[in-house]
Symmetry: C2
Subunit: 253 residues, 2 copies
Amino acid sequence: MPDNSKSQQKTAEKDLSAQIAQAIRDAILSGDLVADDRLPSEAELSDTYGVSRPTVREALKRLAAQSLIRTKRGASGGAFVHRLSYPEAYSQLATTATLLLSLNEVDFATACRARFALERGCAPLSAQNRSVDHLAAMRAEITRQSQPGLSDEAFCASDVAFHRALVDGASNPVLSWHLAGAVEGMQPLMNMITFRNRDRAEIVALHIRITDALEARDAALIDQFLNALCTVTLRQAEASEALHAQKNSGAPI
Amino acid sequence: MPDNSKSQQKTAEKDLSAQIAQAIRDAILSGDLVADDRLPSEAELSDTYGVSRPTVREALKRLAAQSLIRTKRGASGGAFVHRLSYPEAYSQLATTATLLLSLNEVDFATACRARFALERGCAPLSAQNRSVDHLAAMRAEITRQSQPGLSDEAFCASDVAFHRALVDGASNPVLSWHLAGAVEGMQPLMNMITFRNRDRAEIVALHIRITDALEARDAALIDQFLNALCTVTLRQAEASEALHAQKNSGAPI
DNA sequence: TCCCCATAAATGTCAGACAATTAAATCGTG
DNA sequence: CACGATTTAATTGTCTGACATTTATGGGGA
């Protein structure tokens, strides 16, 4: 009764390697396979699923690309269920975020509002849990940002580091992970903005106020200044955009 | 001077397929390849990089697993740079989040605080942008949650839908993406909690208040109730944990 | 006892072939 | 000349078999 082979059904019309990868992925996500468990060897898997070894290997590479497994060569080697580390998770999130924003026509304002909304959510926890180290890190970045003649790139990097320290103040790695991804993913969009000296001064001034508010553990004040920072950033992006549009329409021909 | 082949350097000691995947990934992320661009055929790639076709295929499967490319068979087929859709990005984020939490010994409290911190960040935007549709969706979920005899699973699902509607109210797809991933990733941890009837009533009551506050566009009130909801959830998780611990220590033997 | 080396197991890589699919070119016919 | 059916070519999907490389393990010799 069950039509075994041909299957004009739409159940799983994908590649064999994709099907096998999905099967193993399900086993991992459901907990059937736990961290550091060893998967069967490629030869055994190809036997189990009735496919050739290259096909199994393609499936394993798919899983490796998602950091679900890691492989080791040699005797007692093989594929093992991988315990995802925070740096790896951070990197994956950043990649996904970058793609989502850059390939998907997300405008800067939307991404920017999202980023500041998330960051404002961190403020109360950060006010509660921040240590002097976080304050020191933020003030160090403020000093760097204040240097004249800093490249836009360096200014942006320092800005990221400042906000990262602010978020890390919440002492919640999951929160840091989300925010790091959001900020990192925005970098390509952020790099299209040109910060004039006057704009930088405005930003640095707000950074100082935010740091002071964090030192005083005043969440409401942080929230307010972050909001102001969001507004300022949006305004500058708009100005920068207008500048580019002008350059692109006026200069040529 | 540049030792070309053997390379005892640590520059790129990885697999060939990983190196090739990285090269193509960089080309995509840097914008050299844009959405819907066609990559060279597998034969051309294997020629370009001086490796065999199976190796190239493994590299392409890695990229396909990250939704960076999609492939099509037949003449004029090939690998194309893929425009990541929100549902795909959402699915990837959820997978990463689930792995990060479940395989990495993240305790429920940390994940829960992160989730509510992010959600509180959405509150102001949601209060500003929510439509009547969002309110209706939330009230519909409240009705469902209030039904007696609902399974824990169904209750959780409704809870997720409620919060999703709340976040969608911000009308910011990037924000929705982040929150959806955070909430979805927490599901396995959430499912370990048993909600007693009294607890459910408490949660539903807060949901009602949150919806009312959203209708009134009162961001501060939403924030306050979300905070309360976080506290309640944490308390219930603690109680549930204690219950499990008791079961695991008392029942056996 | 300790060190060196052969062995085996596993992944990494290659080469070549065939199957399946799909778009486009070709050809035949009205 | 136009239009539809057929052939063709290009490309991915899969298989087979082989060899290279890495690494733990065990045995033999100093």
